[in-house]
Each structure stands twice: as structure tokens, then as C-alpha cells.
């Protein structure tokens, strides 16, 4: 059974159907890519899974239990964490405190030294140990992305959802980031659901790719099969 499953997931904004009856599955322990042209509904799907939006129709199940309709914090407690395309750290708080907010999810009453050690551990995991006492607003874009991953990890998720973490990175940094995420998956036994525009990275990292187009699931399959599929090429490039 897949860790995350959606059945007939739809969402309308006014008269616009952002998602229209999407069925999808993310198998435990895999990296699943979610691609599609702009406006295909990728972020809407993420928002529904994470609980920021409720689906108009359809259900989402996580680990066999329905999560659609639950408030976001409960979904987080079930074990789903996400990052954002445009990072949103708590700017006025230090990196350590940002991670501390994530720690509350599993350990709501740790003592001072305990949570600081734990938070420092998550920061070290993403290479931000030197910035622990820096206010998050002073970080650069890449550091903010790392911080967001650290904060997401601190909630101790089973499913990590990444929304375009590679945007703005150069080729070498992309290579490192892909390696990092694969390593993270292996070390923590995570499942990764990953929206990405950098196609090369997704080809390399993902075991399965879902393609959304105009709110519907265009196709799914192994990366190599997906990129060579004429429907996908058509969706991206037009006639």
C-alpha cells in the first residue's frame, strides 16, 4: 500500500478547476517527482495534502487513514512536512528558534539545553551550524531553503514535501542538493514528494514522476518514460 494516496482529488477556485479528479500514489521510501507546466495545479495539490486547503471533492489518505479535511497542524503531527517555493522562515527569530518551532510538533516540552542540542543537530544536518544565532531574515536565499528543510525535518516527518527547492541554484549546487536529498531519504527512511522545474534533477533523483497538466494527471511512470512521452512534450511545448 502506498504511504500517500489521493482519490479523485478536485479543487475549484470560483469557476476555475485547479485540480480535476486527480488520483495519485506516493509509495513509502521512494522519491516521487511532481512536474507540469505553470498553472498545472502542482502547488494546489501540495496545499491540499498539507492541509492548507481542503479539497472540493475527493480524499487524501496517509498511511491508510484519511487526512483531507484535517487542520494543517494535525496533518503535520501525522508526519507530513513541506517546504515552500518562496521560503518563509520566521524572520525575526534565530535559526535555532526557527527549528525549535518544528521541534514542538513531537516534543512540546523539552528543557532549554535539550531543545537547543536537538535544534543544533538539525541545523548541522543542513550545514547551517554557524548561523544558529543569526536571525533568519539575514540569511541568503540558499541558506533560507536549508533552514526550511531543517525546520521541516524537526517536525520528524515520514513524508517530506519539497516545493522547488532547486530554484536559483547553479549546476554544481543542484548536483549537491540532489545528492543531499537522496542521502537524507536513505538516512532517515523518508518518503519524498517533490515538485521541481529542474528536469535533470528530477530525472536523476526520482523513482517515479507524476505529470500534471491543467488540473488533471496527464501520466505517471519512471522518469525516462515520462520525458520521452509525446503527451508530456506536448504539454510543455505546445504544438
Amino acid at each position: 500500500m502506498a504511504l500517500l494516496e489521493g482519490h479523485g482529488v478536485s479543487r475549484a477556485f470560483g469557476g476555475v478547476r485547479a485540480l480535476d479528479g486527480v488520483d495519485f500514489a506516493v509509495e513509502a521510501g521512494t522519491i516521487v517527482g511532481l512536474i507540469g507546466p505553470n498553472g498545472a495545479g502542482k502547488t494546489t495539490l501540495f496545499n491540499i495534502v498539507a492541509g492548507a486547503l481542503a479539497p472540493s471533492q475527493g480524499t487524501v489518505r496517509f498511511d491508510g487513514r484519511q487526512i483531507s479535511g484535517l487542520p494543517a497542524y494535525r496533518i503535520c503531527r501525522r508526519g507530513i512536512a513541506r517546504t515552500f517555493q518562496v521560503t518563509r522562515p520566521f524572520g525575526e527569530m534565530t535559526c535555532l528558534e526557527n527549528v525549535a518551532v518544528g521541534i514542538i510538533n513531537r516534543h512540546p516540552a523539552l528543557g532549554q539545553s535539550e531543545w537547543q542540542d536537538r535544534a543544533a543537530g538539525f541545523l548541522a544536518e543542513v550545514g547551517l551550524e554557524a548561523q544558529a544565532r543569526t536571525a533568519a531574515k539575514h540569511l541568503n536565499v540558499i541558506q533560507k531553503k536549508r533552514l526550511e528543510i531543517a525546520r521541516a525535518l524537526a517536525t520528524e516527518p515520514r513524508l517530506l514535501m519539497l516545493d522547488e527547492v532547486l530554484g536559483g541554484l547553479n549546476t554544481q549546487e543542484i548536483q549537491e542538493a540532489v545528492g543531499f536529498i537522496r542521502e537524507l531519504r536513505d538516512r532517515r527512511g523518508l518518503t519524498v514528494f517533490w515538485i521541481e522545474h529542474v528536469m535533470g534533477a528530477i530525472m536523476q533523483a526520482a523513482e517515479k514522476v507524476l505529470v500534471l497538466d491543467q488540473g488533471t494527471l496527464l501520466m505517471e511512470g519512471p522518469p525516462a518514460a515520462v520525458v520521452s512521452d509525446p503527451r508530456v512534450v506536448h504539454a510543455y511545448l505546445g504544438d
Partner: protein, 285 residues
């Protein structure tokens, strides 16, 4: 005269700051402007009067119970009145406005239009550097106000509840996505905001007695403090309170007491002309 007006300004300014912190906290966490804030202040004054005078309790115990009572009432108000309105800020605005009128009428009915004053904590006066004699009660109020504000900031900085408040004030949705139950946080945040108003109320009531409608100018001043200090900035709020208190009292001493409230708005207009986001306000990106 200058030193006296300055001291008066600091005493009243600290109480303004305390009241304004409550407003700022509630605006920050849940984006609700509580128009009944002043009435919670007054209620705490009545409570401490009632417990100390009528029930003969120790003044300090009466104050603590008064603040706790208002805190609980705040939880109830959030649960019954505010919670159903999330998503539309206008409803909570109107509801709390109605609540303020209802509370005022209840006070009038129960306590009558007369000023009520809980007993002072200390007697006598102290010679301040040989300049003037100042009432011990007012000095005690100053000390208590500073202590409560310090405690509040320590709570924000050092506790889990404080970190949750700061996170939710900066980005509510993100806080929720990181596992924070913002509905429950709202309830306790609102209660705490009311408790801050209550703390200001019990501190100042022995100096300035409470009447059913005395909460309105208090709440108005608190709103001005929040805007003056910059929406969302807690330390700006404290500075705003102190500035207002001092300016009001210096103005009253050197110009006329009749213009007391005029000075407040002059300062506000001046600050907003130069810094539209307030003294410590973050400009919206």
C-alpha cells in the same frame, strides 16, 4: 515641576504600555482588534475592589485572582464569540464593540456610576532626590508595571508558549504547517491579552478609580500606542506607551490639562508623517 510631570508620565506610560501589549499580542497572533480591551481593564479593577473590599481579601491576593478571573473570561470570550468569526476580521471587530457596550452597561447596573477604588498596597510618600514627595502607591504601581512587562518579555523569549506566539505572529499558516495548533494558541493568546489589560487595571485602579466607562479612553490610548510603536512590534508598543504617558503629562503641566488627549494625537500624527509604519514597524514587503 518637570521632574514631577516626568515621573507621572512614566507611571501612566508603563500602564499604557501594559494595556497596549495586550492589544498588540491579540492583533499579532489572530489579527483581531479587541474593542472590549478597556472593559477587561475595568473589570479587573472592579474584581480587585470586590475581592478586597467586600470579601475582605488581602489586596495582593485580590489582584491576582482578579487577573486570573479576567484571563478565564478572555478564554470564554474567544471560544464563544471570536472563534466563529475567523476568516472575517470585520465580524470580530463588531462583536467586540458590542461586547464593550454590553460590559459597560453591566458595570453600570451592578456597580453604579460611582468611581470604585480598591485599597492601596502601601501608604505614605517618598522624598525623590529632595525634589518632591511622591506617593508610594504610584511608585509601587510603576514597579509592578515594570515587573509584569519584564515577565511578559521573558515569557515571549524563553518559553515554548512564547516561541509559538512569535512564530504565529510572523506567519500563521507556516506555524500551523509546522504543527502548531493555532486555534488553541488563539484562545490562550486572547486570554493572555485580556490578562495584560487586567494587570494594568489592578495596578492603576488604586490610583485612578474605575467607573463603568473609564475603559474607553484607556483602550483608545492603547490602540494609539500600538500604532505609534508599529503594528506587530512588542518593544515598540512599550516605547509608544512611555512616550505617550510622558508627553501627555508634560503637556498637561506646561500647557493645560484640558489638552491632555490632544497631545497624544499630535504625537501620533507627527510620528506617522515621518515613519508611516510606526516607530519600530516593519514595512510590508
Amino acid at each position: 515641576m518637570f521632574a514631577l510631570a516626568l515621573t507621572n508620565g512614566l507611571v501612566i506610560g508603563i500602564v499604557y504600555a501594559l494595556t497596549a501589549l495586550g492589544v498588540s499580542l491579540v492583533v499579532g497572533i489572530m489579527n483581531v482588534i479587541n474593542f472590549a480591551h478597556g472593559e477587561f481593564y475595568i473589570l479587573a479593577g472592579y474584581f480587585s475592589y470586590l475581592f478586597a473590599h467586600t470579601l475582605g481579601m488581602d489586596p495582593l491576593a485580590a489582584m491576582l485572582i482578579a487577573v486570573a478571573g479576567v484571563f478565564v473570561l478572555g478564554l470564554v470570550v474567544e471560544y464563544t464569540l471570536i472563534r466563529p468569526t475567523y476568516g472575517d476580521d470585520m465580524y470580530s471587530l463588531i462583536l467586540t464593540f458590542i461586547l464593550s457596550i454590553v460590559l459597560q452597561s453591566i458595570y453600570l447596573l451592578v456597580f453604579g456610576p460611582y468611581p470604585n477604588k480598591p485599597p492601596g498596597w502601601v501608604k505614605g510618600a517618598t522624598d525623590i532626590f529632595g525634589l518632591f514627595f511622591y506617593g508610594n502607591q504610584r511608585l509601587a504601581a510603576l514597579g509592578a508595571g515594570v515587573a509584569v512587562i519584564a515577565l511578559f518579555f521573558a515569557m515571549l523569549k524563553l518559553t515554548w508558549f512564547g516561541r509559538m506566539i512569535r512564530a504565529a505572529s510572523q506567519d500563521r499558516e507556516m506555524a500551523e504547517l509546522n504543527g502548531i495548533d493555532t486555534t488553541r494558541l488563539n484562545m490562550f493568546g486572547f486570554g493572555l491579552g485580556c490578562a495584560l489589560a487586567a494587570a494594568a487595571g489592578v495596578i492603576l485602579a488604586p490610583v485612578f478609580p474605575v467607573t463603568p466607562t473609564a475603559g474607553t479612553p484607556i483602550a483608545l490610548t492603547a490602540f494609539v500606542c500600538v500604532v505609534l510603536g508599529g503594528m506587530g512590534s512588542m518593544s515598540g508598543c512599550v516605547l509608544g506607551g512611555l512616550v505617550l504617558g510622558v508627553v501627555e503629562n508634560l503637556g498637561a503641566a506646561y500647557v493645560s490639562t484640558g489638552y491632555k488627549h490632544l497631545f497624544m494625537f499630535l504625537i501620533l500624527i507627527l510620528v506617522l508623517l515621518i515613519r508611516p509604519a510606526g516607530l519600530f514597524g516593519r514595512r510590508e514587503a
